[in-house]
Symmetry: C2
Subunit: 208 residues, 2 copies
Amino acid sequence: MPKRVDHDERRTQIAEALIQVAGRQGLHAVGMRDVAAEAGVSLRLVQYYFETKEKLLFHGLQHLTDRFTARVDARLAAAGRDPGPRATIEALLLASLPTDAESRIFHLLYSSYSILSVTDEALAAQPFIDKPDAAENALTRLIQQAQETGQADAGADARTEAISLLAMTATMGTSILVGQRTPESAIAALQYHLDRIFNSSRTAPTAR
Amino acid sequence: MPKRVDHDERRTQIAEALIQVAGRQGLHAVGMRDVAAEAGVSLRLVQYYFETKEKLLFHGLQHLTDRFTARVDARLAAAGRDPGPRATIEALLLASLPTDAESRIFHLLYSSYSILSVTDEALAAQPFIDKPDAAENALTRLIQQAQETGQADAGADARTEAISLLAMTATMGTSILVGQRTPESAIAALQYHLDRIFNSSRTAPTAR
DNA sequence: CTTTTCGTAATACGAACGTACCATAATGAT
DNA sequence: ATCATTATGGTACGTTCGTATTACGAAAAG
């Protein structure tokens, strides 16, 4: 045989190519030949490592979410250890906004996959829907922790606020993507709600 | 000549067919032959009234927003005349949620067009981006009115709240669409924020 | 050293798509 | 009555797409 090659590595390389070209042309417009050209390999190779286009798309989605998770983790690590609930939430939300090339592509493609999954049942069966659930749970717990330590308004419904923050962030992301809103205004709106939920002082519980 | 036919009527009929089939298969998967079959006309006829597919898609988007505007207006009319700011806002937001077949299709296709416009500059040049702006302005004014009459928290930032409500509603819609959330839970979250913004009593201004 | 298997390449195939072309019946205008 | 125009149908063309087929060199296995 020729030099045994690392399949996972090659698959990652090709999935990366898929993401790049999809970010440029749109997920709907990407063909196997485009992916092959972007990855610098032959069309046959793409077929070899992903037998069908559907499998390629699935793996691309998987790779996308993995990369995004790593990105968020990196942001959290950069915030220092134990930065407090509010700073953690800020890092989480701001990492999701499409403010640079990488996050723009992520947001665009994740949205594309979501919309696609409405009419494509094979994609809908793919388990990329529980990712939002995990984020929602994490945010809820952070808010609850802040409430217990008096850092957040005790009268707020933690889960509903978590859902709302994530929902707002998602739409803000799309608005930024289509050029309807600036990242600054989106961040301002999010800060507005964080100011509302969190107390500025760390001692006084909220009067109600 | 044959019986002179109303071009606008035919174009509307075909655009309607486009929306139906796109709602079923996804916007990316709709072909001119599908539209022709759905409208019960020949492929040539679709070409005749919309010379190119691009023009057909543009007109479909136009028709979609028109229908949605009419739908919202109908909801507002059904709420009775002068129902107060909160009821008006509720009608606006709830009309946007994909709770029945028609609104599901609308939400799916509007999202599809939005995502498409990120990578398709011809679509991006289409003026369907100022529609959200109009909604944002309308909501802002309604909240301001409520603040002036003491029906809403005077300390709230009307525009930011309007932006937030619309943003939340948009994501909630998508979540419902992909089956991640029920309409009831989405409505509950929206009500939570309306309860926060609006006072239950109509006289007492908010203490702050 | 032979044989089998793996990575890679080139290319062919059938289907589907958007568009273009040709045809024709019906009707308004002259 | 004739002619030009309009609405409609059928179909062919060129391209692109995903997939299948065939081939071949290189190295691990025996």
